[in-house]
């Protein structure tokens, strides 16, 4: 039997060398693990083998896991009942982990997807209405502007509703902004650009390291467009008690 199974059975020779060897192997694996992300600085090596890096890290992790459980905890060659007590829940936990990770992909709407195909969107040529992530598709400022002009004078009721639900918490019910939270949307200043396209991107992808959340996973493209129009209609209304101007003044 292996030397590792009898830690308490009174065998008198030391396993010190064996443990030191395992420690050395673990050190080497860890060093490789840490060196791996640094290869990123060498794109000529990094890029061609890109699909291999994640599996390589997982294999090294499993190897370390196996070395500690098998050798340090000497489960390898130990009594079956210990192996059963530990390995069966471990397998169950692995299944739970894998299923949760897979469910996560299935249950949540991927970034920018899930757009409703409306007649209006089609007429405007919003390609994102069909398939694929919205932000890899060209967004046309002129088309946005044409739609905005058509809707001008109306109340932007749909956008206002979305604004009340999602934006008002930080930007204030009137859009005047709140200290340390959302910026004033009723002045003439835009920190992240005031064009239709830029507003659309700011709402969809977020800004300020996520202080302004990316709403693309929560709102449909249509809703983002509606709320963008509503926000655009707020420009220059300068509500009372609004926050000071931040960013560039837009004509």
């Amino acid at each position: 039997m292996s030397q590792a199974h009898d830690a308490t059975s009174g065998v008198t020779h030391s396993h010190k060398k064996h443990y030191l060897r395992i420690g050395a192997i673990l050190t080497v694996i860890t060093a490789i693990e840490l060196a791996l992300p640094m290869l990123k600085h060498y794109p000529e090596i990094w890029e061609p083998a890109r699909p291999l890096w994640a599996p390589a890290l997982i294999i090294m992790s499993v190897a370390k896991f196996g070395a500690v459980v098998g050798e340090f905890m000497h489960l390898r060659g130990d009594r079956r009942v210990y192996q059963f007590l530990f390995l069966s829940p471990l397998m169950l936990a692995t299944v739970v982990f894998v299923l949760l990770s897979l469910l996560s992909v299935v249950m949540f709407r991927p970034f920018g997807a899930g757009y409703a195909v409306t007649a209006e969107a089609k007429a405007l040529g919003f390609v994102e209405a069909s398939t694929g992530p919205a932000f890899e598709q060209p967004l046309d400022d002129a088309k946005f502007a044409a739609a905005f002009d058509l809707a001008k004078g109306k109340e932007f009721a749909d956008g206002k509703k979305v604004f009340g639900e999602k934006c008002a918490a930080c930007h204030g019910p009137q859009g005047g902004g709140m200290p340390n939270l959302g910026l004033n949307l009723t002045d003439d200043c835009y920190k992240y650009g005031g064009s239709f396209k830029e507003l659309y991107m700011t709402i969809g992808k977020g800004q300020a390291g996520g202080k302004m959340p990316a709403w693309a996973g929560q709102l449909k493209g249509e809703e983002i467009r509606q709320v963008m129009y509503y926000i655009k209609s707020l420009k220059g209304t300068n509500v009372a008690g609004g926050q000071p101007c931040v960013g560039d003044k837009m004509p």
Binding site: K16, P37, I58, V96, L99, F108, P213
Partner: protein, 220 residues
């Protein structure tokens, strides 16, 4: 712990000798009907349940991964240098723990105590690194309530850190028990080995977290 403390003084002559093979059916205060030491059997069963515990926490982290609406996000706060050092220290503490168990088996209690204290010191350093890491994250705006990332990350790594802390206290108590003679040569192998199993388990949880939560974030 209570089982060890209760029997530490009135040790039984066969304690520590019959954990091996060939004595099935021998029932004593410490060994059950399978002829296995109760404390070790209980520890493996407990660690099995711990697999489910941490499996759920890590699974939940990945269920919500990339779904945070507010920042900062993992690649904005993680520091690979700091986490690598603490990871390596914890890994090495597993080796010193294995050496401690080896020393008790050879009845070298004072050398076992040295290894146990080294293990506890490495573990305490790991916890220190984690406290520093957490405080950095909070400074950068990531709190438990900030986002799904904040909640799932702090609950997962916080529970792991709590386990390491419990281990450090446990090992420190064992070294004190060796010093004042409460843990004798007959009793020490199984007691230290069981604590060691717990310690190694805490290490393997971190092996998983380090690769899946940290390293995979950096190769994207």
């Amino acid at each position: 712990m209570s089982a060890e403390l209760a029997t530490a003084d009135g040790h039984l002559p066969d304690a520590g000798h019959d954990a091996g093979h060939g004595d099935h059916g021998h029932v004593s205060a410490e060994n059950n009907f399978l002829g296995l030491p109760n404390i070790k059997l209980a520890m493996w069963a407990f660690l099995g349940s711990e697999c489910m515990f941490f499996g759920s926490l890590i699974g939940t982290y990945f269920f919500y991964h990339g779904k945070s609406l507010a920042g900062p996000l993992p690649n904005q706060v993680f520091s690979i240098a700091i986490t690598s050092i603490s990871t390596f220290l914890l890994l090495m503490s597993s080796m010193t723990m294995a050496l401690a168990v080896d020393a008790t088996r050879l009845k070298r209690l004072s050398s076992a105590r040295t290894y146990i204290l080294a293990t506890a010191a490495l573990g305490a350093t790991f916890v220190g690194f984690q406290v520093y890491e957490f405080s950095q994250f909070v400074e950068e705006g990531l709190k438990l309530s900030t986002s799904l990332f904040g909640s799932t990350f702090f609950v997962m790594t916080g529970f792991h850190g709590a386990h390491v802390t419990v281990g450090v206290i446990w090992l420190t108590m064992l070294s004190i028990m060796i010093s004042n003679g409460k843990l004798n040569k007959e009793r020490s192998p199984i007691t230290v080995e069981s604590a060691g199993l717990y310690w190694h388990f805490v290490d393997i949880v971190w092996i998983v977290i380090f690769t899946f939560v940290y390293l995979l974030e950096f190769i994207k």
